[in-house]
């Protein structure tokens, strides 16, 4: 079976700055791939290009969903269409809908899988009522799964930091993705929260069968989670391999890991 997501020579220029330089990458169904590299390497830019928030200067992005058959070209699609196709993401700087409740944040994720319109909303047609009920039920179930069950009606802005990060994941899961993109999900978390996150990500993969591409600086997390690691620097891929291979790669050690980190990690 071929890969789920294929990225072919992706380039992204910001004026004179080449943020992504002929990047090739693929993710198989159910795989956990980590993207690491120093700050400014272009990792977030890469996510932005994948999700349609940035239009790549050159290159191709294709998605093949198992069971759905055809090969979908993702570049050039607006962000909401990309999400419909099955890519969902979280943000490096948390971007929740701060003045909506926790449950409503997740309900927004259901938007692209539902279709009640203005008339359904005003006249509360049977179809719209049933759909609304399903949105609530599904969203609540996701929150329970992610251990956010006690926060349903709290405003997202009032959540503790770790819970906000998990809520971003919950919201992304509500869109029913085939591939989940996590941008530094452990940033700012304490060791206990990071351990819970580790468990959560594995659970998402095993229970929901969702492939995961994550950007992360916490090497312990990256090494324990990933099937494969991709290392970026200056917009280029400088190495790719299993955690063991990456740990001993001299190029990666000089560019990013540093001697002692490579030994301890």
């Amino acid at each position: 079976m071929g890969p789920l997501l294929t990225i072919d020579r992706l380039c992204m220029d910001f004026g004179g700055l080449r943020a992504l330089d002929h990047l090739n990458l693929s993710v198989a169904a159910g795989e956990i791939v980590a993207l690491i590299g120093p700050n400014g390497a272009g990792k977030t830019t890469f996510f932005n290009c994948l999700t349609g928030l940035c239009a790549p200067t050159a290159g191709e992005i294709h998605l093949v969903v198992p069971g759905r058959g055809q090969r979908l070209r993702l570049n050039g699609l607006p962000p909401n269409r990309v999400t419909e196709k099955g890519l969902a993401r979280t943000f490096q700087n948390i971007r929740l809908f701060a003045d909506m409740t926790v449950l409503e944040n997740v309900m927004i994720g259901r938007h692209c899988r539902t279709k009640a319109g203005v008339f359904g909303a005003v006249f509360r047609s049977a179809a719209a009522r049933i759909e609304e009920q399903q949105i609530v039920t599904a969203s609540a179930a996701i929150l329970e799964r992610l251990g956010l069950g006690s926060y349903f009606n709290d405003l997202a802005r009032n959540l503790p930091y770790g819970a906000q990060r998990r809520l971003e994941i919950a919201r992304a899961l509500a869109t029913e993705p085939v591939l989940l993109l996590l941008d530094e999900p452990a940033a700012g978390m304490n060791p206990q929260e990071t351990a819970e996150l580790d468990e959560l990500i594995l659970k998402i993969r095993s229970e929901l069968g969702i492939a995961i591409l994550l950007i992360e600086h916490d090497m312990r997390l990256v090494m324990s989670l990933s099937d494969r690691i991709v290392v970026m620097d200056h917009g280029e891929k400088i190495a790719e391999g299993t955690p063991a291979e990456i740990r001993s790669n001299p190029l990666v050690i000089t560019a990013y890991l540093g001697e002692d980190l490579a030994q301890t990690a």
Binding site: P78, R95, F97, M107, G109
Partner: protein, 425 residues
């Protein structure tokens, strides 16, 4: 209080007095040419009205001092996590039937019997206020829910009014036929405005919508063959009552009840919308446009629906306005109207239906009942607005999100998994 505390208190007082002095000097300077110097062209002399200068100086000094004292007290109060006394009182009012039922009954009776106890003049003012309630609720969709700052809302009001006036003038169309047409045309114009501003946000959006409002007004003013220019359109018929021709007083009462009906209808629709899939998408768009798109919401569609649905209400009220005044011309649709409606939304509390209703009533009725203060009424009105915004920046009633109730449902594997069910409240 310790010595240090006393000292710092004394220092802030000195600073407050100094600031108030500066404020009063500044005001005296600003108002000098208007309120103090008067040129009498007949006698060819300049009259210096020093008394005014003195009054302004003292007045602004005292007001500034009071203002500083109040803001100081407000900032010093430690923000507590428990809801304020007002919030608790409000919750109690909503929960306990022995409080809200009599209150509600009173409100309903007053609204229903209003035209019988008050003069035609008063009823007319009340009808106008109700029109602004609907306008406020309409703009609230665009500004309060979707977060799109629209300064040209009056354009849709004009579209509604002119639809009825022109359709009636040329084709003899009646009020009831014109009402949906006016609403539809306004929605169309909403989409027309929406397209070019899809990419704009914040200040840029405000400027373009402002321009749009002015363009519509200028077209109406200058395209004589189409809109009869500044002279406007007269003899627009009032709404008929099952073919009956009503007297002026009768028509006023009829319009009053019509507006009550429209207000209720608007509240019903907007309330349902804001807790629906569409309404949530609007709010998400307001909260974070980028994240909203990334979560699969079609930005284009969501924005256009907001513009169209917001404009619809302005179109309807426009038709009613034309029918009420029986004469319309472009000066009724200046930027000042847009600003007024926006003030209603902001003052009431963005996204809050109850807030907008109250703010519309206050803002429209207040200047009417301040007429006793003659030429100072607009000054007082402005002062009320400024003070409101200083002490309640979130508006009269800040919007609250809907809470969903959940019933725990035991699930296999011994874990108490909760199962969500939406409960109406």
């Amino acid at each position: 209080m310790t010595d240090a505390g006393k000292e710092s208190g004394g220092m802030t007082t000195a600073r407050a007095v100094r600031r108030s002095l500066l404020v009063s000097l500044w005001f005296m300077f600003l108002t000098l040419p208007i309120l103090v110097i008067r040129v009498n062209p007949v006698a060819q002399e300049i009259v210096w009205r020093w008394r005014n200068l003195f009054l302004i100086g003292v007045g602004s000094f005292v007001l500034s001092l009071v203002g500083q004292f109040l803001t100081h007290r407000q900032t010093r109060r430690t923000p507590s996590l428990t809801p304020g006394r007002l919030a608790i009182f409000r919750q109690r009012c909503m929960r306990e039937p022995q409080i809200y039922v009599p209150f509600l009954l009173c409100a309903v009776l007053t609204t229903l019997l209003f035209p019988w106890f008050f003069s035609t003049y008063q009823t007319n003012i009340m009808t106008t206020a109700l029109m602004y309630v609907v306008l406020g609720l309409g703009l609230n969709i665009v500004v309060g829910l979707a977060g799109l700052l629209d300064l040209g809302y009056v354009a849709f009001y004009a579209v509604g009014a002119y639809s009825y006036a022109l359709l009636n003038h040329h084709f003899g169309l009646g009020f009831w036929a014109a009402l949906p047409i006016g609403a539809g045309l306004a929605a169309l114009f909403g989409i027309l405005l929406g397209f070019p501003v899809l990419r704009l946000r914040g200040d840029y959006l405000a400027i373009v919508t402002l321009g749009f409002g002015e363009i519509i007004r200028l077209i109406l003013e200058n395209w004589n063959e189409f809109s009869f220019g500044p002279s406007g359109i007269a003899n627009i018929p009032r709404p008929g009552f099952f073919g009956l021709d009503l007297s002026l007083a009768g028509a006023t009462v009829y319009l009053y009840y019509l507006m009550i009906g429209l207000v209720l209808f608007t509240i019903f629709v907007v309330n349902r919308l804001q807790n629906s899939r569409i309404g949530r998408a609007w709010i998400a768009l307001r909260e974070d446009e980028l994240a909203c798109q990334a979560m699969g919401i079609d930005k284009t569609r969501t924005k256009l629906t907001a513009f169209a649905l917001g404009a619809t209400w302005a179109g309807m009220v426009g038709v009613i306005f034309a029918a009420k005044t029986t004469f319309i011309n472009p000066p009724s649709f200046t930027f000042l109207e847009s600003a007024m409606i926006l003030a209603i939304v902001v003052l009431g509390g963005m996204g809050s239906i109850a807030g907008v209703v109250i703010a519309a009533l206050v803002l429209i009725l207040l200047p009417e009942y301040l007429r006793a203060f003659a030429e100072y009424r607009m000054l007082l009105f402005g002062a009320v607005l400024v003070i409101m915004m200083i002490f309640r920046p979130q508006g009269l009633i800040s919007s609250a999100r809907r809470a969903y109730k959940f019933m725990p449902v035991p699930v296999a594997a011994g874990r108490n998994k909760r199962h969500g069910t939406a409960a109406d409240h």
